[in-house]
Homo-oligomer: 155 residues x 2
């Protein structure tokens, strides 16, 4: 039985790339559970907590507001999401969001490539705002990587 390693808030900040202030802020708004304290009141973090913070940082990159992360974090700490059926729905729906985000990003890449390759005409990015889905080539990313049937990805 090996003792589990613990980290100070500073170490945690360094490892996750999230500042100490921000970590305390996440605790304040209860995005993170109240961290354990040492006798002197200092916070203690374990690998598990670092993982959670990294998940937050990851979800942030997908543009998810902090408030919406809570359910995902509970999936992350508790074991199996199948026990929380409405969570599965959330996961799937966020997955769809990300897929469409990737499509948006892809459009910007297309725009940039168009601009870089030649001083070409404009063919701007638009998706649901204008419904010219006809000449909007299905994102290759979406095609290649996402099975579209939300299930197993063929990595």
């Amino acid at each position: 039985m090996m003792e589990e390693r613990t980290f100070s808030i500073k170490q945690t900040a360094t490892q996750t790339g999230i500042t100490e202030d921000t970590i305390r802020y996440y605790e304040k708004i209860a995005l993170l559970p109240r961290a354990e304290r040492k006798d002197n009141g200092h916070r203690i973090y374990r690998q598990e907590d670092i993982d959670t913070i990294q998940l937050i940082s990851c979800l942030k990159k997908t543009g998810m507001p902090l408030d919406e992360m809570r359910p995902f974090l509970s999936v992350s700490t508790d074991a199996d999401p199948a026990e929380y059926p409405e969570l599965v729905g959330l996961l799937k729906s966020h997955r769809e969001n990300i897929v469409s985000q990737i499509a948006s990003l892809q459009q910007v890449v297309d725009f940039i490539d168009m601009k870089l390759e030649k001083g070409k005409y404009r063919r701007d990015c638009s998706d649901e705002t204008r419904d010219d889905a006809s000449d909007h080539k299905v994102s290759t990313v979406q095609m290649n990587y996402f099975p579209l049937s939300t299930g197993k990805s063929g990595v």
Copy 2:
């Protein structure tokens, strides 16, 4: 010689999915050029302007702050970016940003898939924060879609 069609701010808002208030705000902070006015002072928009607004909306989805968009908008309205060499650098560097954003998004998709497929263990997303690049499989998206040599994409 056909007369160019023009749009009211309301029509423009509907077409772009950006509210009238926000369009005026973009003009106020000079993200958009001051729109032409009719005799009664009402703003007039052309297709060109709508394209620009849609580009803004698109760049927003990539998480770009409004302030950083200005150079991109000038590429969009003026013709050829090759005339503005430092702009080419900007375009390329933002392209790289987007590629890494897509990689981040992909990690979240992986996390979700992992959670959905089984009640599996955690293998969280992390990139530059922790340097375990060893078991961090190169994003399939990045591999498939992006030539990596910033040039022409094989669409």
